[in-house]
Symmetry: C2
């Protein structure tokens, strides 16, 4: 069995759930062996600021700055700027914390100076003491668009935050994806990986945008290493967010099994929750663990279990 400590791991994630698993992996791996590839389909512009919610959630989680109750944003952040916007008659629907805006401002400034999102993400993370590698899924602009029954087509953030993911989704597309490319950094990390993990993130809203970057899925499938997804569905429900609701709206059975079906040949293994031990997962290696991460120790423990199980035969 290969040693966990020497395994190079790539994990694909979206926001809160994926960030927790990334944090678990960061607790047990040397930083140079961990690369986190993050969904940027949720990115948007708001008041002239380029906001990358999933990149921020991952960075704040890995740096320990995160608001531990919400799982996103900076702990103890204030909203004086937001209140002052209100004085001008503005009613921002996205929470702009005062400390959080520093991140948006610096990123926006660097983007406008022509820097790549990959470079910017690296600088921001390094400054906050995050020593593993955090990469956006692409340097291109991709926007997850949801075609809804009630509101027509919505960008991700209006769907998710403004309408609190209540509209019924008919279809999803990733606008701009045709022009997106896998960055050299993401490509190199995948080619060097001993294990590829897909975090317990939303399959359509967090992971599918990453897999849809032209070349990404082929790059993953061509790697003859364990590729393991962690189910975001536990006991027929999503731990957080719209994964289960979306699954039903798109015509699937709400179950961890559906996750396997959706990822198809992108994965060779599947981790699902002990709660669902009666499910029969066919066609690939599968195992149950406690996947609900309450504490920092839970995260490290799940990460360790996944890697031990994944590396048991190699």
């Amino acid at each position: 069995m290969a040693l966990i400590e020497t395994a190079k791991v790539v994990v694909l994630v979206g926001g809160v759930g994926g960030a927790k698993l990334a944090h678990g992996l960061a607790q047990i791996l040397p930083p140079e062996n961990l690369t986190v590839i993050v969904n940027t389909g949720d990115d948007f512009w708001h008041y002239g600021l380029k906001i990358c919610p999933d990149l921020d959630t991952v960075m704040y989680t890995l740096s320990g700055l995160v608001d531990k109750v919400n799982g996103w944003g900076v702990g103890g952040d204030t909203t004086r700027l937001l209140e002052a916007l209100g004085r001008y008659g503005e009613t921002p629907w996205f929470r702009l914390g005062d400390q959080d805006v520093a991140t948006h401002l610096l990123r926006t400034n660097w983007i406008q100076a022509g820097e790549r999102l990959t470079t910017i993400t690296g600088k921001l993370n390094k400054a906050l003491g995050v020593n593993c590698t955090v990469l956006p899924m692409t340097d291109a602009t991709v926007s997850t668009m949801l075609d809804t029954v009630e509101q027509g087509e919505l960008e991700f953030q209006p769907y998710f935050v403004r309408y609190r993911w209540q509209p019924t989704v008919k279809a999803i597309r990733y606008a701009g994806i045709e022009a997106a490319t896998v960055s050299a950094e993401a490509c190199a990390a995948i080619l060097e990986a001993d294990v590829i993990v897909i975090g317990p993130s939303n399959p359509w809203l967090s992971i599918a945008p990453i897999l849809s970057v032209p070349g990404m899925r082929d790059l993953l499938v061509a790697r003859d290493v364990p590729r393991v997804a962690v189910s975001p569905i536990v006991g027929g429900k999503a731990i957080k967010g719209p994964a289960a609701k979306l699954m039903a709206e798109l015509g699937y059975t709400v179950s961890a099994e559906t996750v396997v079906q959706v990822y198809g040949n992108a994965i060779t293994g599947f981790v699902y929750d002990e709660t669902d031990a009666d499910l029969r997962i066919a066609g690939l290696d599968a195992v149950t663990f406690n996947t609900v991460m309450q504490s920092d120790a839970d995260r490290a423990s799940l990460a360790r279990h996944i890697l031990e199980w994944t590396l048991r035969k190699t």
Copy 2:
């Protein structure tokens, strides 16, 4: 004698001193009779934000939001965003208050959407309850540049804030001024004015940029109405800022008389402080008042004295 209450007044101002006089005028005039034309030569971009320090000082002063100790910024503002920038290794030399950034953010967003600074300034002021008209000196971008002995040529804000106006100034230019134009709003206000006042602002750094907008000086000189400047020099010193230091560096005698000389035919009258009652101001109408505005009542009192004196013959 014309009634103060029916006189249409235009006042040209820079930052703190001029804003105080504008506030005095706002206290005694119906809002529709007061237009404040503000220097924008100090405007600059910082972290991707378009910042207009003098427009902000005037707006915060007129709305009552101002920090009454500093005379600029929002009273009670916090600096969480600034501190968070520090976490990324940034050391911003310009104070970005959390509430203040809301102003910069909204203005920047609207500028980037193609709106005119005049329109934006109107919207911001109106939202804060400022009912008189506040106008930028032009919609074009003008940058006051200071050629200094110690640091070479500096933009205004680095000179003023970063180097605390300590470098020795050899020459001043207003970059971009050739392409600037007087806005229709400023033109109309000047053409309708019964009195034109130049606030106790820095003649070179606040007022000269306004007078240098092509067409502005001619427009003023052509008006056959009282045009009265208030001296920023009291007892051979500037009440605030580098006016006296600059006066000496540019080779002038540091005195209220120099202000008259510098404004030339732009003014027909001059108000200077009682402290300087022994000065003999020749060649135009001149009067002494207490021009040092400590309280809101001082501001209103000076404004009333100026208008009463100016309108005594009309």
